[in-house]
Amino acid sequence: MEYAVRLLNPGLLPEDPRRLCPVKWRKLLPDGPLTAVYFGSEFCQELIPDLKEAEEFCTLAKDAGLEAVLLTPVVRSDGLCQVQELVTELESRGWSPTIVFNDLGVLRMLRNEHPEVKRQAGRLLNRALRDPRLAEQPLESQTGETARGEQIRALLQRFGVAGLETDPDLEGSYLGDGTTDLQRVLHLPYIFATSGRNCLFKAEAQKGNQNFAKNLGRTCQVSCRQRGYSVERSDLERPLWRAGNTLFYEATQALVEAHLGRADRIVIHESPMS
């Protein structure tokens, strides 16, 4: 097992990223070296880093002898251009971070325009259930079947993709049994429950114009990076985390245990982040 860490800012790297996990199941995680630093955004086009921030993370990774990994979200056509420009600019400055794509348009762009760039399939390509209301139910993976995702894994290999990422879903078999060359990456400790384009933080920044229908297409005027917080809902047994446009919850011990055996790398998130 190897570890990666996703940080809010290009600051200090933790000596042992497992310390960022909840104490109650930290001990489940085996020993292993820290090999990569993740940055960028998986859920919001507005949070794609600019060149300066990306270079800061690439520098942090290089100085520590780690792999830099840029997360990219589902994008509209202008966001696709933004990702392409960022990758091109980074390349022109000598940086070549691994790109995690959550959008097949980004995969196509990388394959056609930057074929030499290492690319990984992000966790949003796995559309399995993660409903927090069902998180205590027995996993489908306990049936022993491993066929889910087989076609996707074959496609990714044809497209020169190096790895496949997920967080713990309620099915359990997406990463496969390790018979492909794809690196299998597990994101912990936060599972995404749902994500959308309309966002309370964005609406709050509209200053008195809280028309959510029109807000959908508006550009976000605020950074939500430092504003993740816990949400208690009367219909849920577990707290959620609201970070930007996405709701997360903390993985249960059973879900972590069910996925650990299928992972080659664990990415530990410092906090829930869009």
């Binding site: 056509s77 348009g105 959308g196």
Partner: protein, 322 residues
């Protein structure tokens, strides 16, 4: 540009054709599925509330549609391990029966159908979140014949996502989603997750939360219909002239599970607006005609119901229109 209407059973075909439907979509769950994967909905709706009862009724639908295309939803965001083989066989059988195409979201299933030679009969569901021209080209290269764009896109973004030679479909009427439905990992089988979102939100003002609640209410049809029997949910009718110019192929009226009364009212309203757009009417003329037929003028104020509020210049949409 065709008007695509939802169906639950064969008795709905003729009234919807009369109301102006030009294409249909529906869902069917095979008996073999229910035995093995009963806990998983095959097409995002409970069979009992929104699905065609059985193959015999689907055959009736195909016969009564009189050549109008009928598409089948296989649009679950994922399918459980062990399901693909059954779904590929089921899909082939449906196409053999005369179904014109399959609406598919799960990439694993889509790739299996492509491998089985059914790519040209696949419509990519909005749940696959194809939101840019690169993703559209990716699916076109796989052999998919139509992309259905997600709800939460502006008209500019829709136009920028269209690819020559690939059909496109957009949402026109009814049933919004709070989150991006393709990126929502919850299930309505456990209740509608988003309805309770925002009940506690640190650092967010009461005014913003009130706006959020109001928006969710509009997405859910304002909990009512007009006195003339028309739904008052999300609506893209005034954007029809621009969608027509952009070359969009098909327009979805949402609501397989709805009553026939609501379906006929929705399709009739959409057909009237489409007829105006085809005749060259401007958005303002369509809005006036829609309000005249449907009622509910106050909800058109400030673009509250608009799927595509950018059809209105920002200043105008701030003003009351009634």
């Amino acid at each position: 540009m065709k008007l695509l209407a939802p169906l639950k059973d064969s008795s709905e075909v003729e009234p919807l054709l009369a109301a102006g439907a030009e294409e249909f979509y529906c869902g069917l769950t095979p008996a073999t599925w229910q035995k093995r994967f009963n806990q998983n909905w095959i097409n995002r709706r409970a069979q009992g509330s929104a699905g065609v009862a059985d193959l015999a009724d689907l055959q009736q639908i195909l016969a009564r549609a009189a050549g109008h295309p009928v598409y089948l939803t296989l649009n679950a965001p994922f399918y459980p391990a062990g399901a693909l083989e059954m779904l590929v066989e089921f899909s082939a059988a449906l196409l053999e029966e005369g179904v014109a195409g399959l609406i598919v979201a799960d990439l694993d299933l889509l790739l299996a159908l492509v491998e089985a030679g059914m790519g040209p009969r696949i419509h990519l569901s909005s749940l696959a979140t194809c939101t840019n021209s690169g993703a559209a080209a990716f699916f076109q290269e796989l052999g998919v014949s139509r992309i259905i764009l997600p709800r939460h896109m502006t008209l500019d973004e829709i136009e920028a996502s269209l690819v020559p030679g690939l059909e496109s479909e957009v949402f026109l009427l009814n049933d919004g989603c709070v989150f991006e439905e393709g990126l929502c990992a919850t299930t309505h089988a456990a209740g509608v997750f988003c309805l309770n979102d925002g009940e506690e939100a640190q650092g967010i003002s009461g005014q913003t939360l009130e706006g959020y609640e109001f928006w969710k209410w509009t997405l859910n049809h304002c909990g009512c219909k007009t006195s003339r029997g028309y739904p008052v949910g999300p609506c893209g009718l005034c954007a029809l002239p621009r969608l027509l110019r952009a070359g969009v192929s098909s327009l979805t009226v949402v609501g397989r599970e709805a009553s026939l009364t609501r379906k006929v009212a929705s399709v009739g309203l959409a057909a009237m607006a489409l007829q105006l757009a085809r005749a060259g009417a401007a958005p303002e003329e369509i809005r006036t005609a829609v309000i005249e037929l449907r009622g509910g003028a106050s909800l058109c104020q400030d673009a509250h119901l608009c799927y595509y509020p950018d059809v209105w210049p920002e200043q105008e949409s701030e003003e009351a229109i009634c």
